[in-house]
Symmetry: C2
Subunit: 160 residues, 2 copies
């Protein structure tokens, strides 16, 4: 198959496939006379594996480790289990952070019940106060507070 067919088969964007190849997650394929990449079933499976891992928010580095084990079927998989445990820890840590954030934000929101002039808005005034450290600094790799898909979409929609 050609790259577009692989893309359709796996629900991946063409550019992402080429990106994974550059990053060494997918092997370089053979090419047609016209220099088109050609893929087989094995590539589709490997790509599905990667996308499945990504849908679980693993980093490409984490996925690289898992692929090493997939490529070495006789090795002991203990490290796989450990990696998964760690990643579950990353997710759990981020959930805790976000819950604390949510509490803070709701407390902040309560400071302004009905709209008035900005100078007397309880929210703006509270945000201007000094102190109030308590930033999130836990030990995980689940980051940010902002979804990818939707944010991009709204940005993209701005063009024309």
């Amino acid at each position: 198959m050609k790259i577009g067919e692989l893309a359709k088969a796996t629900g991946t964007q063409v550019e992402t496939i080429r990106y994974y190849e550059r990053e060494g997650l997918l092997p370089e394929t053979s090419r047609t006379d016209g220099n088109y990449r050609i893929y087989g079933e094995a590539h589709a499976q490997r790509l599905s594996f990667i996308r499945h891992c990504r849908s679980l928010d693993m980093t490409l580095d984490e996925i690289r480790v898992l692929l090493r084990f997939k490529d070495a079927p006789t090795e002991n998989c203990g490290e796989v289990n450990a990696l998964l445990d760690e990643h579950i820890g990353h997710v759990a840590a981020r959930i805790r952070e976000l819950r604390s954030l949510e509490r803070q934000l709701k407390g902040l929101r309560d400071l302004c019940q009905e709209a008035r002039d900005a100078a007397h808005c309880g929210i703006l005034n509270e945000l201007a106060r000094q102190g109030s450290e308590g930033g999130s600094s836990a030990a995980g790799h689940v980051h940010g507070a902002h979804g990818r898909s939707v944010e991009r979409k709204s940005i993209n929609d701005k063009r024309k």
Copy 2:
């Protein structure tokens, strides 16, 4: 005060302060004869405001909106409240996503109790299966699953 003192006073890195200026979140300041930026109390407060918002995982664009209201004290703050509600929605949406992720990951983890050879690892085999869509695609801007601070730290620690 000079930029380093402002940095210390607010717990911000010097480069971050210059970055905010480039991004238009902080105004361009006057300079000394030697071309050093000089700041006053108002700058410190504005920077505290920004950092406070950032600690609540708002984007710089969200913060820009809030600053517009801070700079226009006579305007009605209804939009501030709406923005906060939306952002709380972002955080809540991401929490839901991550909880679903956590469930999936724990289910996956249960597929391999004791380490064996990779070819028979229930985790690797499940990850290789097709289908299993259900990616996170909710409507928020809280992203990723990987913490910033710690990840960076471990990277930084690698130098020497």
